[in-house]
């Protein structure tokens, strides 16, 4: 079974792109499954079911959705194999631009939204920089200039990656994406595999429920903001 990790910020069109690609994969007689990760709630599973795609939802609740993802991705793979899928997508929650749910040796897609503005590619971290395929959505609603500059900036942030425009509504460009997906190798197990980059670090009292503000409660992995007018210690 092929495994594909799909990441991207909130509302960039991750679900739409997976749906458009899955429709084409279905036409080729392939079975597709999706594991949708989110923090509190999601209704995307309904969208998948309406299209006849098997879906499992993983809600991380108070945990970082990315840490939750990495603790569960092997189980996702086992579920997909039990179901007999040809291809399994994992869709990230898309909460921060620092997350990086990409695994070495597993096809990694990052979805970015042209509406977010031409400077956005530079602000996204390893989720974009370490992706194999970059899908740019909503290119039809920005000006020709912004489309070209956005694509140029993506190439600079992600040199060597395969980047393409895909319209999540009409599906224009999805065929090209599917060609790329089918080039992915099979993933039989993730035991011992490595993430491409460490998850955002978070080990401090606030990770485990502390709510009081104040210096005495800031222990563990704490980092302080540097102000220009502060004395240099």
């Amino acid at each position: 079974m092929r495994l594909v990790t799909v990441a991207g910020g909130p509302s960039v069109g991750k679900t739409s792109i997976i749906l458009r690609a899955s429709e084409l994969l279905h036409e080729q007689g392939l079975r597709v499954g999706v594991v949708k990760f989110d923090a509190l709630s999601t209704r995307d599973d309904q969208l998948y079911r309406e299209k006849g795609i098997d879906v499992t939802v993983g809600l991380s609740g108070s945990l970082c959705p990315d840490h939750y993802f990495v603790s569960n991705v092997q189980d996702c793979l086992e579920w997909g194999k039990r179901q007999g899928f040809d291809l399994l997508f994992t869709e990230s929650a898309g909460l921060c631009s620092r997350c990086s749910p990409h695994v070495k040796g597993v096809l990694a897609i990052c979805i970015v939204d042209a509406l977010a503005g031409v400077h956005t590619p530079k602000k996204i971290g390893p989720m974009l920089r370490l992706a194999d395929i970059v899908v740019i959505t909503k290119g039809d609603v920005v000006s020709q200039v912004e489309r070209e500059v956005f694509a140029y900036n993506v190439r600079l942030v992600c040199p060597g990656a395969h980047s393409l425009f895909c319209n999540g509504i009409t599906g224009q460009g999805a065929a090209r994406l599917v060609d790329r997906l089918l080039c992915a190798g099979a993933t039989e197990s993730l035991e011992g595999s490595h993430l491409r980059f460490p998850m955002p670090a978070a080990v401090c009292p606030y990770c485990v429920g502390e709510t009081v503000i104040g210096e005495t409660h800031q222990r563990g992995n704490v980092k302080k903001l540097q102000f220009a007018d502060a004395e240099v210690k």
């Binding site: 020709q144 200039v145 912004e146 500059v149 694509a151 600079l156 065929a175 980059f197």
Partner: protein
């Protein structure tokens, strides 16, 4: 390290974007990288090996960007597919560089679909089953899906400016990514051309988001004619937008573009070299503009001038009471 930064400005830009402070030093890049604090590397979102390989790929990518130029296209061919009822179109349409093809037809007849087929250089893989050839050949997948050097530029109706930049900054940003030699001069040229196309002129300092519909259209037409490398231009309706249509077309033609315009406007439709009539999702007629039509175009233009004068007077709060002298 200093030499590397001087030779490849993109590397400095990369370090800035990941928040690493670069130092001008005689040390080699690898030594500098190994001496960085682990925490700084972690915050950059890549490990040392990934940074190294990223920079290698970046330098190659920038060199590719600088060296690849879109090859000019002399001829575009549309091979018919089928209409909404599944009837074969049985047409083959050719358009050459410097030619304008107008697409006419009722609302919902399939004009936008035809533009979309050209935009994605359809190869019998869209609902219409049409095929687009460039210079008589099927375009390669690299040409079809190339990201920033697409052969087709599209000025669509539902276009928005998202960035909040001045006209000057906006156009020079485009010129820079097009790797134009003299960015400032080319930017000034585009803005001057745009101002000639629009009745309501705008300054280079105004924000693009504040431009009127007509001004935005004029700016995008001037930009696509002068700055964009794409040899094929698609335009979705430019009527009623306060743009000098005659000059706009001339600007695009002198840029040797192959232009497709979807329109209801007689001034545009008759100025094209040929027009495609679309009906029920299919190409129904192909009409080459005749001399008699060109003659009529002159008469329609004269009427348009009279109408524009009336429009201007209305704008100025005047009455329109005296008998109107229509051109003969």
């Amino acid at each position: 390290m200093s030499a590397l930064l001087a030779k490849h400005p993109c590397v400095r830009e990369f370090f800035r974007s990941v928040g690493l402070n670069v130092s001008e030093t005689r040390r080699t890049f690898r030594v500098w990288l190994s001496q960085l604090a682990d925490e700084a590397v972690f915050d950059a979102g890549m490990d040392r090996e990934q940074i190294l390989s990223h920079i290698e790929r970046l330098i190659v990518e920038v060199a590719t960007l600088e060296s690849t130029r879109l090859s000019p296209i002399q001829r575009l061919t549309i091979r018919g597919g089928r209409d909404k009822a599944g009837h074969a179109e049985n047409v083959c349409i050719e358009a050459g560089a410097g030619q304008v093809v107008c697409i006419v037809g009722p609302t919902g007849s399939g004009k936008s679909r035809l533009l979309a087929d050209i935009e994605c250089l359809a190869q019998d893989d869209t609902p219409t089953g049409r095929t687009i050839l460039l210079d008589g050949e099927l375009p390669s997948n690299d040409t079809r899906f190339c990201l920033d050097q697409k052969p087709v530029a599209q000025l669509s109706q539902n276009m928005n400016f998202v960035v909040d930049l001045s006209v000057q900054e906006f156009i020079s940003m485009h010129a820079q990514c097009r790797m134009v030699a003299d960015v400032a001069a080319q930017t000034a040229h585009v803005i001057a051309c745009a101002n000639r196309l629009t009745g309501e002129t705008f300054s280079a300092d105004v924000s693009v988001t504040q431009l009127s519909g007509g001004q935005a259209r004029a700016l995008m037409i001037a930009d696509v004619a002068l700055l964009s490398a794409s040899p094929i231009v698609l335009i979705d309706e430019i009527e009623n937008a306060g743009v000098d249509r005659k000059q706009a077309l001339e600007l695009l033609i002198t840029g040797n573009k192959i232009v497709f315009i979807s329109t209801h406007d007689p001034l545009l439709a008759l100025r094209g070299h040929l027009r495609i009539a679309v009906r029920n999702g299919g190409i129904a007629e192909i009409l080459v503009t005749t001399d008699a039509e060109r003659k009529n175009l002159e008469a329609i233009e004269a009427i348009d001038v009279t109408l524009s004068k009336i429009r201007d007077r209305l704008r100025q709060g005047q009455r329109i009471e005296e008998p109107i002298e229509w051109p003969q």
